[in-house]
């Protein structure tokens, strides 16, 4: 009856039908905002989900080979700093003092290392290795006068329509 073959075809169809996909738009380039897109992309890829990331505006420099990400200390009243053995809120105005941003960034990077949190470079490499599709926004590239040669290998250039084509077929679409 050829049932065996039919079952196989059904199984294949089911597998393809079950393949989930996700897109993420990364729009911000500070150290803290760089984490969610890369954590979610790499984890989803590990869970057999097809992932597309679109990097635009301040998210685009996250694709530069050399990263020196800084913490955004201004306008972030929720940020607590470890001081005098506890975590204290830092008044926003302190963030404008020269050296505070780099100091807070150094403290955060130190803490991340201590707590076994991956670096953005590590997560980005994991994303590339797990075949996450990475699209760099062409318009932002022109606007910021950035050079694709300064960026990591394996990315493609595209615009809003390239993203939408991917998003319209995806199960999850995130804007970060």
């Amino acid at each position: 009856m050829g049932d065996g073959n039919q079952m196989t075809e059904e199984a294949v169809e089911q597998t393809i039908g079950n393949a989930k996909s996700m897109t993420i738009i990364a729009t911000k380039g500070t150290l803290d905002w760089a984490y969610p897109p890369f954590i979610l992309a790499t984890t989803a890829a590990a869970m057999d989900i097809d992932v597309t990331m679109f990097f635009t505006f301040y998210g685009l420099p996250l694709l530069n080979k050399k990263l020196d990400l800084q913490l955004g200390t201004l306008g972030n009243p929720a940020m607590k700093m470890p001081m005098m053995g506890m975590h204290m809120g830092m008044p926003s105005i302190v963030g404008v003092i020269p050296g505070v941003t780099s100091g807070a960034t150094a403290m955060m990077k130190n803490m991340m290392k201590k707590k076994g949190v991956a670096s953005i470079e590590e997560l980005r490499e994991a994303a590339v290795l797990s075949d996450v599709r990475i699209i760099a926004c062409q318009m932002t590239l022109d606007l910021f006068e950035m050079d694709p040669d300064d960026m990591i290998e394996g990315i493609e250039l595209g615009g809003a329509a390239t993203y939408i084509e991917s998003a319209v077929k995806s199960d999850i679409n995130l804007y970060i």
Partner: protein, 75 residues
Amino acid sequence: MADATLDAKGLNCPLPILKAKKALKDLKVGETLEILATDPGAIKDFEAFCRTTGNELVESGEEGEVYRFVIKRAA
């Protein structure tokens, strides 16, 4: 005994999951991976990972301050 062991102690989210996925790829279907972790979030995360990927969570437990998971690789 599991076929392979992954020491993910001291690593934080999402590294235990990413490393487990990588280690599972090196196993044959039906073989098992033991994972040792200290991230308390790993308990729920490995459950969710297995439910989504179809890999089987054979064991999940705590030994002192270390969480231990055994995952059997599915297709």
